[in-house]
Symmetry: D2
Subunit: 343 residues, 4 copies
């Protein structure tokens, strides 16, 4: 059994992680920390866990995280980078669901996150946990940077096109739509039911923190070539789900359907739809699947890719468990085979 | 492995049943029938099943249902009663998710469902599949009547009070609220998104078909005493979930919290909340749980019970699988332990 | 033109009031106060008002409220009672959308609102603004207590039955469902989109502040007789709307349909539906209408009344404008005739 | 008073038109036709109109439409083109909310709508009712083609850029999101609540009928230059609202904010937001407003325009009333000044 600790289990990625870990056959959940909620039963905060998670939130001191095999950080940005070094030194492997280890360049991190990076030496060794690209490196990672939700959908959508070198890279467009759970469980007016329901808006148009993460990932896939990207995220009145609509210009003829099917034929969690179908976010709800369609409207040279994930699963907690499975030599799908919930 | 056939898998209880059966470790899914969709891949209709259900809809003739161990009917009312006799004669056990075998009295059935009952002899032997009441009889049932969604929530809510004889039975009130999936997948204007969203209404106030089912169940629990019940169902803008708010007048003093906790202490799928808590439907979403709270507002002699289920799971497909487990000697919880999806 | 000031225009009842007042032909909106937002353009907070409300939030000091004809308080409970006396002394009439002047008895107010009442002398003269009951007194009111949202729906629903003396009063049941905007615009986790969507729950079961208000109102209508009431409010995933489902036991035979139609035949804002119809909350969305149906399921002696309003309009801002119209001798419907928005 | 007839008032654009016309001070509503519902009271179908529309649906024969001043067609595509000639000959002016008169070229119409055009001679004289472009021609139109919902938002968003000639026209991208009411009131499984809620998907990617309409409109604005456009519509879980996210490449430097503000400074129904703000669809809900923001993420040469409308108002019924006002010499805003409903 993998001894697992969770730091910061009070948000939506936290409770989703607990949902998955509590049913995972190879996991022993040993501690869930929360400074603010220490002492509270976890299932008092999350009644959906009643009967399944028999733990209380504890302080980091009580948690004895150094005796865990792996610690998940489901914390705000800026926490994991402060605690990772000590845990790694104690032989604990780290999976950070926040952004602390996603950007390679500490200067870029500081530019977007507005504080200096606390562990630049770990940044260098951290592995970016997009298994469909980095599976080998993930196996031995000590510090794993779990990808952001938008970056997961956008990168998986562009990946076959960029790898195959069939599009121009200077003016990519990612028009992405997210459910509201992506904004977290913070008590902010903008996320209130009556603010968000029956409405639709863009946000972060001038510059969203996932922009440099996507750009870095695509550039790596492109073998280091620079990538020009316009990224516009939108808030959609649904709880879960990300839908990325991607636009690129083809630089040469290619069988798009075959390209995508071939690239993902061995990827359990990426499902390329038959030609002519479009993915719905609900077809992946509560599951770790990414479904993708590719098309070329009116036969023009603009290719359109549609990629959907559940932002809390493949976009966060599920992908983190997938990474844990890889890191600990388990079946990659272990604990992640519950079917999507639809309707 | 239990060889399972499904008749009528194109509705919401159908796809929910497939979701559960496809992940059930003791089930071999052999055939899914649909006259109208015969030949279509099941996952073409339900992309959420892609990679998990590798079957096509077949006609009843092609299905060879008589070689199954059990056949689920996820059909409209009036179908199972026509096909059950032949299957039972062939040694196949039947689990009907529709209403065909729920009412004991063929005359009452005809009064509410407007057609004569086609198999009154099976009606007499059919077992009402509310495991928390009838577990023993379910074990050997040849024809199992899976309870309706409202009746499940309402009966589980009133059960401890009626069994203990602590309320007057002549003026019970069940004010019940259901998500829209309870109305099924029929293409009707009344169930369109724009008709139902951001609105709330009662329906079936003059008389809903679940009324006689609840009345019959409560009367049986009451040892045959007549039960007076006003039942008002409401349509709520959510996909899944039933919330039953039940009102009764206490006839003698009793520790309500203890009564409920004791009655349900050995029931895995019924969770009595601590005093002072109220259940939310989302705390059981996509799971087979029923959560219940009981209270006595302002210390008056009116007792209020709040009971929530997912109408597609404990109110339909999940309860059907629970019954199958009991009928075939499996662990009652097998294949039903995925945690609720929340948020 | 009626010179109008608004105290506390930053919440949902505030913006709804501004929506109605900005289009009201007899109103000149002179000041909107907010301590926290002073200086901010009102339409910066509420883009829906752009081009229609050309004011900034001001401090109470800048507002010169004493020169208004009427001041609306769209504030939290406990504010209006502190400021009302000075304004009344200056000849300004007060319409309080909060609860400060709703309960006659200062002791009961203190019991439910947990602070002593600051203006018990005004409490005595305050008029309860349910025009369908108190129209005459409203005309001359100096301090008007605008009814709560639940109390409006519940009282209008029970009113004909109680006035006619055809039900027993000791065990009334009001099972009420509200949209989320009723909880206000406070940044609280419980009102986040992801907490409330696709879920349903009761709250305040042990005792909600609208209980004594309803009980007081019904007792007054009953000529002072005591009223026993169980009131269970529920939170429904919709923005606007209250649906009250009311249960009472008939004490004598009566033509319920005729009783309701006759009682409300001259009330513009109360619409009794034809027999057999049920009201939907969306049929009153964004309007000041209350729609009501009455029925007697299965011919039993339990009468069921269904009443719907928009909690922000007839349940708050619209009713306040209706009261203003009455107080200032305008047509009662002035500025309130925009049709409901449906779908 | 303008004598108004409505053909086909049973859908969502129909009831929205009735909502607006019933409150319009210069309109006398004389007949609403529906073959299928003839004889039914209009407010029996639409309870939101109770007390405000005292008409029954009538057959076209009973309607005496030739005595109207104007007839609105809120019918499916293909109806208006059959009836328009006779009405025009009788001196009645036509406003078609369907697509029959939107495309100039009968061959292109037939290509996209799959039936030959029944009135090509009227097609030639029909005026495209986008007042912000064609106000003068609208004044004297006998046959007015009311623009589609997507085309309204997309054209208003691109308009200043195309008119000013500051973008390249060969690879425009319109990523558009619509509420579900845009799909109409047809009883189709795809529009059921449980199919659409908590999900997001694209549709019509290969080719949507609004594509040629937008292309034609933009080309006209561009002085006849060809326009290359990729148009991807999406279905969003909300009732009302269209959000168009538009992407174009700048061909020369320009002050985008000033360009947009100047272009729309005299347009009552187009509101250019201050720099840095983004529009929400709810800020125009139930109103005839279009709100627009323009920005240039990261200072790149890709310009992003965000435009929102209510698809049933500015995208259908409201724009139709706006056009009627212009055609009959009324104030353009008459009957269209109710404020947006938010929240």
């Amino acid at each position: 059994m993998i001894k697992v600790g969770v730091v910061g289990g009070t948000g939506y990625t936290g409770v989703e992680l607990l949902r998955l870990l509590a049913a995972h056959p190879a996991v022993k959940l040993t501690a869930i920390t929360s400074r603010s909620e220490a002492g509270l039963r976890v299932d008092d905060m999350f009644p959906s866990l009643r009967g399944r998670v028999d733990l209380r939130f504890v302080t980091p001191q009580e948690a004895a995280l150094e005796s865990c095999d792996v610690v998940f950080f489901a914390t705000p940005n800026g926490i994991a980078m402060q605690q990772a070094a000590a845990l790694v030194a104690a032989g604990v492997r780290i999976i950070d669901l926040a952004a602390d280890f996603r950007l390679r360049d500490p200067a870029e991190w500081e530019q977007w996150y507005k504080i200096p990076h606390a562990a630049p030496e770990l940044l260098a060794e951290a592995v970016y946990g997009l298994a469909e690209v980095n599976r080998e490196q993930i196996k031995t990672a000590r510090v794993l940077a779990n990808p952001g939700c938008y970056p997961t959908a956008v990168q998986l959508g562009f990946l076959p096109l960029v790898e195959a070198g069939v599009i121009t890279l200077d003016h990519l467009i990612a028009d992405a739509k997210s459910g509201v759970s992506g904004a977290g469980k913070k008590a902010e007016v903008g996320n209130l039911y009556s603010e968000v329901t029956d409405s639709f808006k863009a946000y972060g148009v001038a510059g969203h923190r996932h922009l440099p993460e996507i750009r870095q990932g695509l550039a790596r896939i492109a073998g280091g070539k620079a990538v020009g990207l316009t990224f516009v995220p939108h808030l959609t009145p649904m709880i879960r789900g990300i839908h990325a609509t991607l636009y690129a210009r083809l630089s040469r003829e290619v069988d798009l359907q075959e390209l995508f099917e071939t690239r993902y034929q061995n990827e359990y969690f990426v499902d390329v739809l038959p030609a002519g179908r479009v993915p719905e976010t609900r077809s992946v709800r509560a599951s770790n699947m990414c479904r993708i369609a590719v098309c070329r409207p009116q036969g023009d040279d603009t290719v359109v890719v549609l990629a959907v994930i559940d932002n809390l699963v493949k976009g966060a907690a599920g992908q983190a468990v997938q990474n844990m499975n890889i890191m600990f030599g388990e079946e990659e799908t272990l604990g992640l085979t519950a079917l999507p919930v639809s309707p």
